[in-house]
């Protein structure tokens, strides 16, 4: 149980960390490649790009999370099959 608790906590910690990096990357990357004026150029069009990228990263993180949990279940099913 303790192990489960720690791994669940680690999972959520990891998730928060990833989300934070995603946030920094999506706003930081654009800012670095040409200063703030780049984001404001073309009528602030790149703000829309950054928003879409952030949402996309969020959905991908959800997929990664789901993938990991499904893998765990698959392994468990495999082990149960062997035990029988």
């Amino acid at each position: 149980m303790l192990r489960q608790l720690i791994s669940a906590n680690m999972n959520s910690l990891l998730r928060h960390f990833l989300i934070l990096t995603a946030m920094l990357v999506s706003s930081g990357l654009f800012a670095q490649s040409g200063g703030e004026d780049f984001m404001r150029s073309m009528g602030k069009m790149y703000v829309v790009v950054a928003v879409i990228v952030a949402i996309f990263i969020g959905i991908v993180l959800f997929l990664i999370f789901l993938d990991k949990r499904l893998t765990k279940l698959e392994n468990q099913i495999k082990e149960n099959g062997k035990a029988r």
Binding site: S12, M23, G43, K44, V47, V51, I55, G58, F62, L66
Partner: protein, 349 residues
């Protein structure tokens, strides 16, 4: 295939929201007038700088200074500097018939760009109240007052192209709220029936709701960085949303901390109802009564009247449905995984 119709519909609506939302042009506008202030009675030359405009010399725009439909001054001469800039010369009268005035609207009209009223007003000093005698100077006319045709988005100061975020950032909040609502309904049904399936549904809806909430907060911060110049300004709406997400975050902490699955389900269902109840004051009442940078500061928390153009609505509403359906799909995947996990614990595999 048939039972997946709602997933296909959701994806189709989102594809529509992404293509139409990104390809539709912004209506032409004028965002700068130089000089910004003039003195009555003088001859002035104004340089107007447009956004998304396509001025050309052959069909030079008609430029007017005006107070209302009955009081218009036509430009003496107009020259197009480039597709973005127009220079217009005006002979300013010394008096206005009805009142003392200190600002005038500036508009242009031509076939390519339609009728555009500049966002800034022209400040004017020394304009006196002149009575009927002054009326002769204000008899200018303008023929075409239709704005540019075709499907376009409004030109908003400071927002410009990022008006498109309405379909991604704003619509995501609507989807989040729908998911939380479905979550709390499932929690209530769990408490009524004690069927663990409803509890699993509640968890799935709520977790996707939280993901959308976090994304809403992040996308909001990105948008805020370039409109308010500060990603996080402790604005009432940002702060209250962060509190709501923390309350919901505690829902999952709560779930981890119980070993007995029955107890876990019961307590988290009750907590979910509490968390949902907290949304209403935090997101829908407090932001209405305090000042905020966010649109619709007082009144509706998301929009002020007139923020949403009809053309924006035509993409905004499908986008909301699209995000909701995508959220439901994500929640359903999570729910199916939880069902497998439960059966695995009962040694059915």
């Amino acid at each position: 295939m048939v039972k997946h119709w709602w997933k296909i519909l959701g994806v189709a609506l989102l594809i529509f929201a992404f293509t139409a939302g990104l390809l539709t042009p912004i209506r032409p506008g004028i965002n700068d007038i130089q000089p910004t202030a003039v003195v009555a009675g003088q001859t002035v030359s104004l340089t107007l700088t447009g956004y998304n405009t396509d001025f050309n010399q052959e069909q030079a725009p008609k430029v007017i200074l005006w107070k209302d439909g009955d009081h218009i001054i036509n430009a003496l001469g107009v020259s197009v500097l480039n597709s973005r800039q127009v220079q217009a010369t005006f002979q300013l009268p010394t008096a206005f018939p009805l009142d003392e005035i200190n600002e005038l609207k500036v508009s242009t009209s031509d076939p390519a760009n339609g009728f555009i009223t500049a966002l800034p007003r022209l400040r004017i000093s020394g304009m006196e109240k002149g009575g009927e005698a002054a009326a002769s100077a204000w008899t200018g006319t303008i023929e075409n007052t239709d704005s540019k045709g075709g499907f376009t988005f409004p030109y908003l100061p400071n927002i410009y192209e990022s008006v498109r975020n309405t379909f991604y950032h704003v619509a995501l909040w609507f989807a989040m709220f729908t998911l939380f609502t479905l979550g709390v309904i499932a929690s209530i049904r769990y408490l009524l029936t004690r069927n663990v399936m409803f509890e699993q549904r509640a968890v799935s809806y709520t977790s996707v709701g939280i993901l959308f909430g976090i994304l809403g907060l992040i996308t909001g911060a990105i948008w805020a960085q370039y409109t308010w110049n500060k990603a996080w300004s402790w604005d009432i709406k940002q702060t209250m949303t962060a509190i709501v997400l923390l309350i919901y975050g505690a829902y999952f902490v709560l779930r981890i901390s119980f070993e007995d699955s029955d107890q876990k389900a019961r307590i988290s269902a009750v907590y979910n109802i509490f968390a949902f109840a907290s949304i209403i004051p935090l997101l829908y009442v407090i932001p209405r009564i305090t000042e905020s940078l966010h649109p619709g500061g007082q009144g509706n928390p998301a929009f002020s009247r007139g923020d949403l153009d009809n053309n924006v609505r035509m993409i905004f509403y499908p986008a909301i449905i699209g995000w909701i359906l995508l959220g439901l799909w994500m929640a359903q995947l999570n729910f199916r995984m939880m069902k497998i996990k439960e059966r695995l614990l009962e040694n059915e595999y």
